[in-house]
């Protein structure tokens, strides 16, 4: 029997407001431990929370981007449990009246989005680095009370790869909105996955397990794959999946149980009496809508409509700064530049050179890259030499035409008399290869072209050389 995974994701995104969600302390990551604190976020006796309006504004943008239905009124609830990272003994979250329900981002439906406060950070002293077996634990309350939006999807994800891809879309969307810096290492984006499997063709849901707190996209993909494999092996051996919360260790790939269903907390949710319900007004919605930038999904569609390949359109749309660079290059006004070839140069050659860095911060001006692509299109420089010019642009910046001129990298034009004697010399110097070509082995032409390229320092047009060789050998 073949099984298919059914996966739902719960993502916590830290909202990038200056202040925490219920007090005026800085929500900035890091800092001297326990310096971004006050009586409110330390849960001192007598303090009360006051909602940071900016948090609602940011979350509304996020909800609009995910096509969610925003409730006219939402309210907060207390989620009660004891832990040293939770100074009040309860987390202020949302329960039966979340900010919004329904919606979709890409091909995954959104179940709900709600707001809550983050817990503080526990640091465990000892070899394990985890609470079990630690010698002592200390608490840094700087993170306590930073605003989180929890995004819960429907169980629409069918593979680990799809989960990773969707999270990438989510991350780009949040980054584009400017509401979260979505940095997994700093914990500003965290993901849990609810995983079950079922026979292909079945519409029922199997027993799910929850894989907790994976902190990189790679771990998420590996974690889900490992858990799906574990569940499959279990079912194939005639066993049953038990509902439990699991931890994935990315170093050993081991999956261990954190707690079973019986050990699950009873959070005793009840309405937070210290806060009043939040009314989301038509004006607030309109303001959020007006401030909405073009989102990755829309940009991807628009770029594809320009004639750009699906893969390049996705890369340009999902890497906002790369897309911005591309559009600046396209707009630089060189009408001879083909849209797809410019996309190739940006997505392949430029990315190969600048990597994950923001290309807009590189020395290659968008109009310079467009100019270089135009030179290639006009056959004024060969593709090989254009790559050398790009190396130069990356290192020093400047104007591509001037570099071609100064370095004598201009292509030898197809009808140029200068090319014929060089081809003749190459044929004479590689008589063996010439024979093989004549006998029909076109692979041997590599030696001839290589010779010509050496002689011309790459300025010869490969296609033109081939044409000359064939004509001279009477083919």
């Amino acid at each position: 029997m073949d099984y298919e995974p059914v996966i739902g994701l719960e993502v916590h995104a830290q909202l990038l407001t200056q202040a925490k969600i219920f007090c005026g302390c800085s929500a900035k990551f890091g800092g001297v431990p326990n310096h971004h604190t006050c009586p409110v976020c330390l849960g001192m006796p007598g303090v009360l929370p006051v909602l940071n309006k900016k948090v609602v504004e940011y979350a509304m943008k996020m909800a609009l981007a995910a096509n969610c239905r925003i409730n006219g009124e939402c309210s907060f609830a207390r989620k009660n449990y004891f832990y040293p990272d939770l100074p009040k003994g309860y987390q202020i979250s949302q329960y039966d009246e979340p900010l919004c329900r329904g919606g979709h981002l890409g091909d995954v439906r959104i179940h709900r989005v709600h707001l809550e406060e983050d817990a503080a950070k526990l640091v465990h002293a000892g070899a394990s680095g985890r609470i079990h077996g630690s010698d002592a634990s200390v608490v840094d309350f700087n993170r306590g009370g930073t605003p989180l939006a929890e995004i819960v999807t429907e169980p629409d994800v069918r593979s680990a790869a799809q989960a990773r891809e969707w999270l990438t879309l989510l991350r780009t969307t949040l980054r584009r909105l400017g509401v979260s810096d979505v940095n997994m290492e700093e914990g500003s984006l965290r993901c849990d996955a609810n995983i079950s499997i079922r026979p292909v063709g079945s519409t029922e849901l199997g027993t799910k397990t929850e894989l907790k707190n994976m902190n990189s996209f790679r771990f998420i993909e590996r974690g889900i794959n490992a858990e799906v494999a574990r569940q499959e092996a279990l079912l194939r051996d005639g066993g049953q999946v038990v509902q439990e919360t699991l931890h994935f260790d990315p170093r050993t790939e081991a999956i261990t149980s954190l707690r079973s269903k019986e050990e699950a907390h009873d959070y005793r949710y009840f309405p937070e009496p210290d806060l009043v319900p939040v009314a989301t007004s038509v004006e607030m919605l309109a303001a959020a809508r007006d401030a909405m930038p073009e989102l990755p999904a829309a940009r991807e569609e628009r770029l594809q409509a320009l004639g750009i390949s699906a893969a390049d359109a996705r890369q340009l749309a999902w890497r906002t700064e790369l897309g911005d660079y591309f559009e600046a290059a396209l707009a630089s006004g060189n009408s001879r530049v083909g849209v797809q070839s410019l996309a190739n140069w940006v997505c392949n050659e430029l990315v190969a050179r600048v990597g994950e860095d923001d290309p807009n911060a590189s020395k290659v001006r968008p109009d310079a890259l467009a100019g270089l692509v135009a030179l290639v299109a006009a056959k004024a420089v060969t593709v090989g030499n254009a790559k050398l010019v790009l190396d130069r642009l990356v290192a020093e910046g400047g104007d591509p035409a001037q570099i071609v001129e100064a370095e004598d990298l201009g292509a030898i034009a197809g009808g140029d008399d200068a090319l014929e004697p060089i081809v003749d010399a190459a044929l004479a110097a590689n008589a063996d290869a010439a024979e093989k070509i004549r006998a029909g082995n076109m692979k041997a032409i590599g030696a001839i072209i290589g010779h010509v390229m050496r002689e011309t320092k790459g300025r010869a047009d490969g296609a033109e050389v081939t044409r000359l060789v064939r004509s001279k050998l009477g083919l």
Binding site: P39, P45, V47, F82, V139, R268, F270, P273, L275
Partner: protein, 479 residues
């Protein structure tokens, strides 16, 4: 004036004397400081020392008349323990908004008063720091939970005091000590810095010698506070009452809270009836009204308040402040700290609240209690269509003997029978001294619609003048 003479002045009179230049605020402060330091009722948990006499701002409306403050208000650098062992020695880094507001208006901190632990109690016997004695009879309780504040004001060691009322914690001790206690409309006074018992019910209010003092103190307590999202302030200003008539005033007397057979002592009922007659003689009409859901108020209250308390008190975990009892691991530390730190009544309510919020029980308890609460508010709303005020005895009994009810929590809870409905409805209610029964004070409670404080104070003032209560009994015993 001699030191004793000074402390005989009402707070408003003392403030006027200071403003007229007849009395120095320093002299006033020292007289009360000495009286508070000499207190024998265990009313204070902390008293300002002589060097701490603050300068009242020139021309301050409260004239530098010092204020006794219930222990659960946070006061920067001063012990604020909410009457609990778990906060023993805790000195907050900040001051509660209402305390800061009153200090700025010229009412400096005189001392912190004893209370039932986390405001849970009706006799002050639940304080971790020992019970407060009733100044009328030291073998009896002062009521609670603001028992220290009530006893201090009644005994004259404080000119006025701040208390909190969740289900009657200002009005009931005011009644048992023969003073005035006012619970304002929920949301008029900031809760920021009040150590929470039940957030949706807790409200700060004045305990004073007379209605005028209550109005004067309240006038400087109300106001919206950006640190308290549930605070809404007061529309307009609190005025000093001056009416001596109740002409045209319609008083509703709910059968459910004052009829025969609801368990109110005969002596208390007699005093209540006498004041109703007095009210009629001042021009009021008195009629029976109905609050059909009021008999369920106590049950709803003892679901809702403990539910909120179970959550509010979770922060006392030994991790950051207050007491900690080490026990090797984390869970052991939690258990030992909370076992040692909380008293039995607090533990009982944490258990009750935890249970009623539990999965599977929430709707049957918390959900149903919330619906009862809504019904009670509706009862009052329809009563106020026909009546200006609803009046009841404040407490079913006069002050009882120390230890008389400690073994029976349910009979202790019945002390709040007449005061809890107004708390659930969030409406203002005042208790004024209503004569004696067997030599002990009884209280007359008067409540009105939300934000009707000015009218409540006017009516209470008119009754107060007519009743002419003699408070000397609280000062004679052992004085």
């Amino acid at each position: 004036m001699s030191a004793t003479d000074v402390t005989l002045l009402s707070a408003a009179a003392a403030a006027r004397a200071v403003q007229r230049g007849e009395l120095s605020p320093a002299e006033l402060f020292q007289a009360y400081r000495a009286a508070a330091a000499a207190d024998e009722l265990n009313a204070y948990l902390w008293v300002a020392d002589e060097a701490q006499a603050p300068e009242a701002p020139a021309g301050a409306p409260l004239g530098g008349v010092p204020l006794a403050v219930k222990d659960l208000f946070c006061t920067a650098g001063v012990p604020s323990q909410a009457g609990s062992r778990i906060l023993e020695g805790y000195r907050p880094p900040y001051t509660a908004s209402v305390v800061a507001r009153l200090a700025a208006a010229g009412a400096p901190l005189l001392g912190k008063t004893n209370q039932d632990e986390f405001a849970m109690g009706s006799s002050n016997e639940n304080s971790a720091f020992g019970p407060v004695l009733n100044p009328w009879d030291r073998t009896r309780v002062p009521g609670g939970s603001s028992g220290g504040s009530a006893a201090a004001v009644a005994a004259g060691s404080a000119p006025w005091a701040l208390g909190t009322d969740t289900g009657g914690s200002i009005r009931q001790p005011a009644a048992l000590c023969g003073i005035v206690g006012l619970k304002p409309t929920y949301g008029t006074v900031s809760r920021y810095g009040m150590i929470a018992f039940a957030s949706s019910l807790d409200q700060a209010g004045p305990l004073t010698r007379d209605v005028t003092d209550a109005a004067l103190l309240l006038a400087h307590m109300v106001g919206q506070d950006e640190r308290d999202s549930t605070s809404i302030g007061f529309p307009g200003e609190i005025a000093l009452p001056r009416s001596d008539s109740l002409a045209g005033i319609r008083l509703g007397v709910p059968e459910e809270l004052s009829g025969a057979g609801v368990g109110i002592e005969p002596g208390v009922l007699d005093a209540f009836g006498a004041t109703l007659k007095l009210a009629e003689s001042l021009g009021a009409t008195v009629e029976t009204c109905r609050l059909p859901h009021a008999p369920h108020a106590l049950s709803a209250y003892y679901v809702l308040a403990p539910a909120e308390a179970s959550s509010n008190l979770a922060r006392y975990d030994g991790v950051r402040y207050g007491a900690r009892v080490e026990d090797g691991g984390l869970v052991g530390m939690y258990t030992q700290t909370r076992s040692a730190g909380f008293g039995p009544e607090v533990k009982r309510r944490i258990m009750l609240g935890t249970y009623s919020l539990s999965s599977g029980y929430y709707d049957a308890y918390y959900g149903r209690a919330q619906r009862v609460r809504t019904k009670i508010a509706e009862d009052f709303a329809s009563a106020f269509e026909r009546f200006d005020f609803v009046v009841t005895p404040t407490s079913p009994s006069v002050a009882f003997e120390l230890g008389a009810k400690t073994a029976d929590p349910l009979s202790m809870y019945l002390n709040d029978y007449c005061t809890v409905p107004m708390s659930l409805a969030g409406i203002p209610a005042i208790s004024i001294p209503n004569g004696l029964s067997a030599g002990l004070p009884t209280g007359f409670q008067l409540c009105g619609p939300a934000f009707s404080e000015n009218r409540v104070l006017e009516a209470a003032f008119a009754l107060e003048q007519a009743i002419g209560f003699d408070a000397a009994g609280a000062r004679s015993d052992g004085g």
